[in-house]
Symmetry: C2
Subunit: 215 residues, 2 copies
């Protein structure tokens, strides 16, 4: 497999960004495919690079390790989604969690790899501690981004405790949603990604924290 | 340094458990000390084992890696604390979070290493991704334990969504408390461990989720 050319009709602007996203997706897909064929322990950065037709040096421009390439689940929250959240109405906990759930589900919908690839990555993470650790570290990086967004929305300091706690609560909810999607078999039955399940987890969280439950 | 003999007056029962805890603590302390002297990257399992006077094979009975030995922060929640929580009153979200905060702070107070050692481990984690990942994976293991305890307390299924979400919320709060303790310099000024700061984070969380804030 080689890096495909972008669409001929694509505007010059953003072409490089699109090509980068595509190479990233191909490296991720090749990592999952090779792990399926050979077992993750046998896969090397050289094998992945060769499969995609790039040099190992190029590989390291995209991912710090084969573990990171296996989980290409999250990138930075795209600016459009970040703005939508930061400019949303209300600075109460429930409004913030509701809108966080919204943009995170949308983010997953757009950024997540093929459901079957994600499913395979999660199965490997269950058996390989370094892969699980990489997944958790990626969640931690997203959590730091979210704390900044929450602070912007609520007008609190970027390193404030409230923003940090809510970001942690939101990522715990994302992880729970992905886990439950993984366990449900929805990917196999209907080819569905985790976004809808994450949305449901935020609904469950808000019910759990709602006035009726907090007593 | 060698493994010290237990107190002569100690009852025979529990002697092996105490000795194990002590060896574990010594391996942890030696890892932190060697990392200070040589830089964590240079430290090997052989060096740590030699320092404590045990074989590398014995090391691996206690920790799977030098990263894990650096963070000996959490073990399993002790049965006495687990029972106290599971038998506590109330199954509402606020009561559960209040009592979780209590037993987790007590657990940290008893199980946490010397404040200066923890402080050094956290500083290393900031610069070494594999150490941060190990810390997060240890938090994840505690989170799974907590979900079981919450289910027991609330009479819900052990793999239920509510128990999983609340366990995730609690561990996000613990991580935030430890981080803020690390940033505050309280360890240097007063030799204080993170337990009290974790207690404060749970108070902040409950205020944030309380009826006044959820609107």
């Amino acid at each position: 497999m080689t890096v495909s050319d972008p669409q001929p009709s694509a505007p010059a602007e953003g072409l490089r960004a699109r090509r980068r996203r595509q190479t990233r997706a191909e490296l991720h897909a090749a990592t999952v495919r090779l792990a399926r064929e050979h077992g993750f322990a046998q896969v090397t950065v050289e094998m992945i690079s060769k499969e995609v037709g790039v040099s190992p040096r190029t590989f390291f421009n995209y991912f710090p390790s084969k573990e990171a390439a296996l989980f290409a689940l999250f990138g930075t929250v795209p600016p459009a989604l970040a703005d939508r959240f930061a400019e949303g109405e209300g600075s109460g906990t429930d409004a913030v969690l509701r809108d966080l759930g919204d943009i995170l589900a949308d983010h997953l919908q757009e950024a997540a790899p093929e459901p079957q690839e994600l499913e395979d990555s999660l199965r490997i993470a269950e058996g390989v501690p370094s892969v699980l650790a990489t997944f958790l570290a990626q969640c931690e990086a997203v959590e730091r981004d979210l704390a900044g967004l929450i602070a912007r929305r609520t007008g609190t300091p970027p390193d404030g405790e409230a923003a940090e706690l809510l970001a942690g609560v939101a990522m715990a909810t994302v992880r729970s949603g992905i886990k439950r999607w993984h366990q449900s078999g929805a990917h196999a039955d209907e080819g569905e990604g985790p976004a809808e399940r994450v949305r449901e987890s935020f609904d469950s969280l808000r019910t759990l924290l709602g006035p009726a439950a907090v007593q």
